[in-house]
């Protein structure tokens, strides 16, 4: 098992700017599903960018079991907040991008891509241009594109933000199964407390200014879905509702501290 460590990281966008993140410590095991919640502007995307290697810590270090993360790599695939798909490629070609970079032979590539497209329920739209897809479809292409890299860690920034409630719930179930099947550690950033509780094995709360982690809570609701419970049953379970309210209190409390 690998562990991605964000080790006492402080980060500022410029030498004269106040730090966006201060002294953050967070580790993600490759068997974990860690959800980060926090208000808009609390530094969630910045945190993910540090883990991905797009940004370099001002202080501290990001490493995988001691090996310092120097930049982006296919072992840490990213699903972006605003999809970042390649509009010059079809949905199918977007998904196959990582395999093409690796020089995987065409036949093998096509087989893998078809598998992934079916997995995200997009087989019918495979040869459409990106701008012909809906927001939710694009996000699914983005997820399939990241999975094709066969990553150790999947870093997702609000992947379900563009979806309606029902599709979102289906996609949540899909993400849980995906996590179980792929064997990758997941870092999921979300605005939705409910989504975090439902999916994650740990929920991390990021508080705004001073932006730091104020809670790191183990949860187990998702496991019940994998064992056969329905989403609805789990989300209306009094234990779930109570946890949701407590988490919400925690986040709102932080807001007043500012």
């Amino acid at each position: 098992m690998y562990k991605l460590h964000i080790d006492k990281v402080t980060f500022a966008y410029g030498p004269l700017q106040p730090p966006v993140l201060a002294d953050i410590g967070l580790s993600i095991g490759s068997d974990e599903f860690v959800a980060v919640v926090g208000r808009s502007g609390s530094g969630k995307t910045s945190l993910l960018s540090l883990a991905a290697g797009f940004l370099k810590p001002t202080k501290g270090r990001v490493h995988i079991d001691g090996r310092t993360v120097e930049g982006p790599s296919a072992e840490r695939a990213v699903v972006f907040q605003d999809d970042a798909l390649f509009p010059w490629l079809t949905a199918r070609q977007n998904v196959g991008f990582a395999l093409k970079l690796k020089g995987i032979p065409k036949a093998e590539r096509e087989r893998r891509v078809a598998e992934l497209l079916a997995h995200v329920d997009l087989a019918a739209c495979a040869d459409k241009a990106i701008w012909e897809l809906s927001g939710g479809m694009r996000q699914r292409v983005g997820i399939a594109r990241a999975l094709a890299a066969d990553p150790e860690f999947l870093l997702m920034d609000e992947p379900l933000g563009a979806l309606d409630a029902l599709t979102r719930e289906r996609m949540q179930e899909f993400l849980l199964h995906l996590w179980q099947d792929s064997g990758a550690g997941v870092l999921l950033i979300t605005h939705s407390i409910e989504e975090a509780l439902f999916l994650a094995t740990r929920v991390v709360v990021l508080a705004p200014s001073p932006r730091r982690i104020v809670a790191d809570i183990p949860v187990t609701f998702g496991r019940r879905l994998l064992q056969g419970d329905t989403s609805r049953a789990i989300k209306s379970d009094p234990a779930f509702v109570a946890a949701r309210e407590r988490l919400r209190d925690l986040i709102e409390l932080q807001d007043f501290e500012v």
Binding site: A52, G71, A74, F86, L101
Partner: protein, 276 residues
Amino acid sequence: MSTIEDIAGQDEPTAPAPISPGFDWVRLVPLLTVFAIITLWSLAASRGWVSKVFLPSPLAVLKSAYQVSVSGFADSTLLQHLLASLGRVFGALAASIVVAVPIGAIIASSRIGRGIFDPIVEFLRPLPPLAYLPLIIIWFGIGEASKVLVIGLAMAPPIIIATAAGVRSVSRDRLNAARSLGATRSQLLRFVVLPSALPSIVTGIRIALGAGWSTLVAAELVAASRGLGFMIQSAATFLGTDVVILGIAVIGIVAILLELLMRALERRFVPWSTHL
């Protein structure tokens, strides 16, 4: 307070405006303009408002078009003149793409490169070709190379500027996405930067083609034996106004056709240009 009925009823009375099935008469306006100009021109010629030497009738120009096409003017047919000019312009286009795209990419990606090339481009861009033509002839002689060079010098700046703009506007998220999917530097260049910049480069090429085509007459000013510009100039020395007008008309019409061709190519080869 609004009730459900209020809300539901709101969109009922206004049926969607039907898409007009009738003919769009406004589209005929440009045709009318052309028709009016030709009519006025015919009248001016036939009524003798202007001497035939200065303004031959449209019919006379058509006749000379036929004559030049079949028996030629100054030892070449109209088609041969046209092909000579097109050859120079497309030769210059190929050469300036090869030079200008890398320079544009360098300007966009390195501050030193920008420092080196920016002053040259900015100086060259507004210069009229007639200004540097004599210098080029002194340096490179009166051969074909000088003509292609004159046209190429007019074409390179728009391509350089458009390429630089295209490369500079590559989305950071897309670059990061490719890097986190395992792209190396050269793969980034080929699979992300190039396709991102391509719509802008194609636009630059379209503008360059217009600029190059309009320097044609200047380029063929000296020691050409074929070409539309040459045809116009040699006709002018004999007061062959009909051939002069013919040459101008062909240059103008070809310019429009080139523009349409480039737009079609743009739609065909960079359909993502409006979705970046």
